[in-house]
C-alpha cells in the first residue's frame, strides 16, 4: 500500500446522497483480477453510455474535474455492498481522498486498507465545499494528513480527525497483517482461555 501523507489536487463534487458501491463499480466487473486495473470501471454505468462513450454531464467527465484526485461527497457515500473493488476503482482512477459527512462503514474501512483517506466533515462543511468546487471547476484542495487539515484556495484550513491507528497506517503504508502477527502471543493466550470458557466452539 502506498503511504498517504499530503496531497494538493483538483477536487470534484458529488452532490447525491447514498451513492452505493454498486454505482461505484457494478457487480459484473467484480470477477476481474486485481492486476487488470479497475480505474476504467469507476462509476462505469453513469460515466459511460451504452456505446462506451463518456456521458458529458457526469462530473468526472467535465473539463474542470477530469483531473480530480479528491472527491467531496454527500451523506452515506459508499453504502451497500462490501466490495473492496469500489476502493480499488477509486484508487486506480487516481482518487486518494474522499471527503463527506458520512460513509458506509465497510467502505470506510476498505479505504484505509488501500491507502485512500476518507475524511468526515460536518454536512454544512461538505455542502460548502461542493458548492465552491461546482462554482469554480479546477479548484484544488490541499489535504495534509499529518496536520489533519483540508485547505481550500482561500487558505482557511478545515480541521478533521483520524484515529491514531489508522493515521499511522496511512502515513507509513504499513502492513497491518505484519503488525497483527506480532500480537501472536496475545492471540494464543486468548485461544487458550477461550478453549476453557467456551469449549463448544472448538
Amino acid at each position: 500500500m502506498d503511504p498517504f501523507v499530503r496531497l494538493t489536487a483538483v477536487a470534484a463534487p458529488m452532490d447525491l446522497p447514498n451513492i452505493d458501491t454498486d454505482r461505484i463499480i457494478p457487480a459484473r466487473f467484480l470477477r476481474r483480477p486485481r492486476e487488470s486495473g479497475f480505474g476504467p470501471l469507476l462509476f462505469h454505468d453513469v460515466r459511460f453510455d451504452a456505446t462506451g462513450a463518456e456521458q458529458p454531464d457526469f462530473v468526472l467527465n467535465r473539463p474542470g474535474h477530469r483531473a480530480a484526485r479528491i472527491l467531496v461527497t454527500a451523506e452515506n457515500f459508499g453504502c451497500g455492498s462490501s466490495r473492496e473493488m469500489a476502493v480499488w476503482a477509486l484508487l486506480d482512477h487516481g482518487i486518494r481522498v474522499v471527503i463527506g459527512p458520512s460513509f458506509g462503514d465497510i467502505f470506510f474501512e476498505n479505504c484505509f486498507k488501500n491507502g485512500v483517506l476518507p475524511i468526515v466533515v460536518p454536512a454544512e462543511t461538505a455542502a460548502g465545499l461542493r458548492q465552491a468546487l461546482a462554482a469554480r471547476p479546477g479548484t484544488t484542495l490541499t489535504v495534509d494528513l499529518e496536520a489533519e487539515t483540508v485547505t481550500p484556495p482561500d487558505g482557511v484550513a478545515i480541521r478533521f480527525e483520524v484515529d491514531g491507528f489508522r493515521k499511522h497506517g496511512l502515513l507509513t503504508g504499513r502492513d497491518e497483517l505484519a503488525l497483527t502477527l506480532e500480537q501472536m502471543p496475545a492471540i494464543e493466550a486468548f485461544e487458550a482461555r477461550r478453549r476453557v470458557e467456551m469449549p463448544w466452539l472448538g
Binding site: N18, D22, L30, R83, S102, H168, I187
Partner: protein, 466 residues
C-alpha cells in the same frame, strides 16, 4: 460508582477483545468465518504471499454468488464465472476448509447455510466478506460484513482490528397485523431511520413484535441492517433461538449443549443497559410495504402514492428523488398499487428460507403467474424441505420457475438479470440503480407481496387477494 447494565452487543464485544491498540482500536477474535466465491481474491493474495490459514476449522465456504440456478448441473458456460467457482473449490481444498460446492446437497446462500448448519450461534463473533452478514445477528451473535483485505487478515490471524461502534436499539411495539411480514417491518424501520441512519452503529432489535418473530423472520430483519447503514444488527437469543439450534450439525450436544445454553441465557441486554440511541416504531403503523426509488429507504405502504419531489424542501433530497423517479420510470402522485411489473424474483439471503417460500406459495396456490417469476430457494436444505411439502409443485403449477439455490437475481453475478427498463418485484434487499441488471428497476417487498405481483402482473396489496 453505580454499575450499569451491559447491552448484548457490549457483552459479546468484551468477550472477544484480544488486545487494545492505539486510536480506540481493538483486536477482536473471530469465532466463525464464512466464505464464498468473492473470497477468491483474498485466497489468491495469500497463495502468492505463502500465508497459511490460522484456523481452517473455523471457516465454512459455499458457492452462492456466481452459481447458475437453472436446473441441471452442466458446466458453467461463462469462463470467468466458471473460474470464480472453480478457484474457490481449489483454494478451500488446498487449505482444508469445508466447502459446499455446486451439486453438494448442503450448498446454498452463505447466510442461509450458516444458521442451517448451526455454524451461527449466540454470543459468537462471525464475519464474512459480504455486507449482509448481519443476518446472523438474528441468533444474538455479533456478525458483520468485511472487505477483501479484512478477509485475508482474518484467514491469516483469526482476528480483526475494529473500533467499537455505537449501539442503537430499535424497539417495535404493539402487535403485527395479519398479512404484515418481517420484510414489511424492516422496510418500515429503514424508511424511518434512513439509509445512513445506522452508520457507525450496531442495531439491537427489541420489543414484543421482534420477540414474537420466528428465526426465519428475525434473519430477514437483521439481514437488512446494512440498508439502514448499520454493519451489524442483532436480536437477543431466547427459547425460539435455542429451539431452532438444538440438534443442528455444528451445535454442541449433551454436556456441551447445557454449557452453551447457560452462556447463551446470560447474553441478553441487562434491563438497565444504556443505548447510544433509541428508536421506537408501533407495529400498528406498518402496512405491506414496497420501495418506489433506488434506495431501500424509499419505502412506502402499498396503499400510498408515489411521492412528489416538488413537495420536498431539502434540495439535495429533492434532486435525489427526481433522479430516482426518472430511473424508475414512475410518475409522482400515481398510486403505487397497480404499477405493472415485468418479472418477479423470490429469493436472496433476505427472503429465501422455508417460511418465505411458504408465504409466497400460499398466494401462488391455485393462481397463475401473469409475468415471468423465479423462485430460488436459499439452500439445498430449504429446497428439499420445500419439495417435501409440495411447494415446488404449487409454484410450477402456477407457472413460476423453481430453481437451484444461489444468490441469483439479487445481484445478478451468475447471469440471472433483468433487462434495462424491466420492472422487477423482488424479495431481495437492494433496489440500487443497476443492481438487478443495467437499467433494471427494482421494487423491494415481502415474498407474499412478490407472489401477489406475479399473479396479477402489478404491484398489488396482498390483502386484497381473497
Amino acid at each position: 460508582m453505580a454499575a450499569t447494565g451491559l447491552t448484548l452487543f457490549e457483552k459479546i464485544w468484551r468477550r472477544h477483545v484480544v488486545t487494545e491498540g492505539p486510536g480506540g482500536q481493538s483486536l477482536l477474535y473471530v469465532d466463525r468465518h464464512l466464505l464464498h466465491e468473492g473470497s477468491t481474491h483474498a485466497f489468491g493474495r495469500m497463495e502468492r504471499k505463502g500465508l497459511a490459514v490460522r484456523r481452517p476449522e473455523a471457516c465454512l465456504a459455499t458457492a452462492d454468488h456466481y452459481v447458475p440456478t437453472a436446473s441441471g448441473r452442466g458446466e458453467i458456460a461463462d469462463p470467468e464465472v466458471r473460474r470464480m467457482v472453480a478457484d474457490l473449490g481449489r483454494h478451500t481444498e488446498r487449505l482444508g476448509i469445508t466447502f459446499f460446492g455446486r451439486g453438494e446437497p448442503r450448498q446454498g446462500i452463505v447466510h442461509v447455510i450458516g444458521p442451517e448448519q448451526g455454524a451461527t450461534q449466540p454470543g459468537i463473533l462471525l464475519v464474512c466478506g459480504d455486507s449482509h452478514t448481519a443476518t446472523h445477528g438474528a441468533f444474538g451473535a455479533l456478525a458483520f460484513g468485511i472487505g477483501s483485505t479484512e478477509v485475508e487478515h482474518v484467514l491469516a490471524t483469526q482476528c480483526l482490528w475494529q473500533r467499537k461502534p455505537r449501539v442503537m436499539r430499535v424497539t417495535v411495539t404493539g402487535v403485527r397485523a395479519p398479512g404484515i411480514a418481517a420484510k414489511d417491518v424492516i422496510l418500515a424501520i429503514i424508511a424511518r431511520i434512513g439509509a445512513g441512519g445506522g452508520v457507525g452503529h450496531a442495531i439491537e432489535y427489541a420489543g414484543p413484535v421482534i420477540r414474537a418473530l420466528s428465526m426465519d423472520e428475525r434473519m430477514t430483519v437483521c439481514n437488512m441492517s446494512i440498508e439502514a447503514g448499520a454493519r451489524a444488527g442483532m436480536v437477543a437469543p431466547d427459547e425460539t433461538t435455542f429451539a431452532y439450534l438444538e440438534g443442528r450439525p455444528l451445535v454442541p450436544r449433551g454436556a456441551g449443549w447445557a454449557q452453551a445454553l447457560a452462556h447463551w441465557r446470560a447474553l441478553p441486554s441487562d434491563p438497565d443497559a444504556v443505548f447510544d440511541r433509541e428508536v421506537t416504531l408501533d407495529a400498528a403503523d406498518i402496512a405491506p410495504t414496497v420501495t418506489w426509488g433506488t434506495s431501500p429507504q424509499d419505502a412506502l405502504p402499498i396503499t400510498a402514492r408515489i411521492p412528489d419531489p416538488s413537495a420536498v424542501g431539502d434540495p439535495s433530497r429533492r434532486a435525489s428523488m427526481e433522479r430516482a423517479l426518472a430511473y424508475m420510470g414512475l410518475t409522482a402522485g400515481a398510486p403505487l398499487a397497480g404499477t405493472p411489473v415485468s418479472r418477479v424474483f423470490i429469493g436472496s439471503c433476505t427472503n429465501s428460507r422455508l417460511e418465505d417460500l411458504r408465504a409466497a406459495a400460499a398466494v401462488a396456490r391455485g393462481r397463475r403467474a401473469a409475468v415471468p417469476a423465479l423462485v430460488v430457494p436459499g439452500s439445498g436444505g430449504v429446497k428439499r424441505a420445500a419439495e417435501a411439502e409440495g411447494l415446488d409443485r404449487v409454484f410450477t403449477e402456477a407457472g413460476f420457475e423453481w430453481r437451484e439455490p444461489g444468490c441469483s437475481m439479487c445481484v445478478g453475478m451468475n447471469g440471472d438479470l433483468a433487462a434495462a427498463r424491466e420492472r422487477v418485484a423482488s424479495t431481495s434487499n437492494r433496489n440500487f440503480e443497476g443492481r438487478q441488471g443495467k437499467g433494471a428497476r427494482t421494487h423491494l417487498m415481502s415474498p407474499a407481496m412478490a407472489a401477489a405481483a406475479a399473479v396479477t402482473g402489478r404491484l398489488t396489496d396482498v390483502r386484497t387477494l381473497a
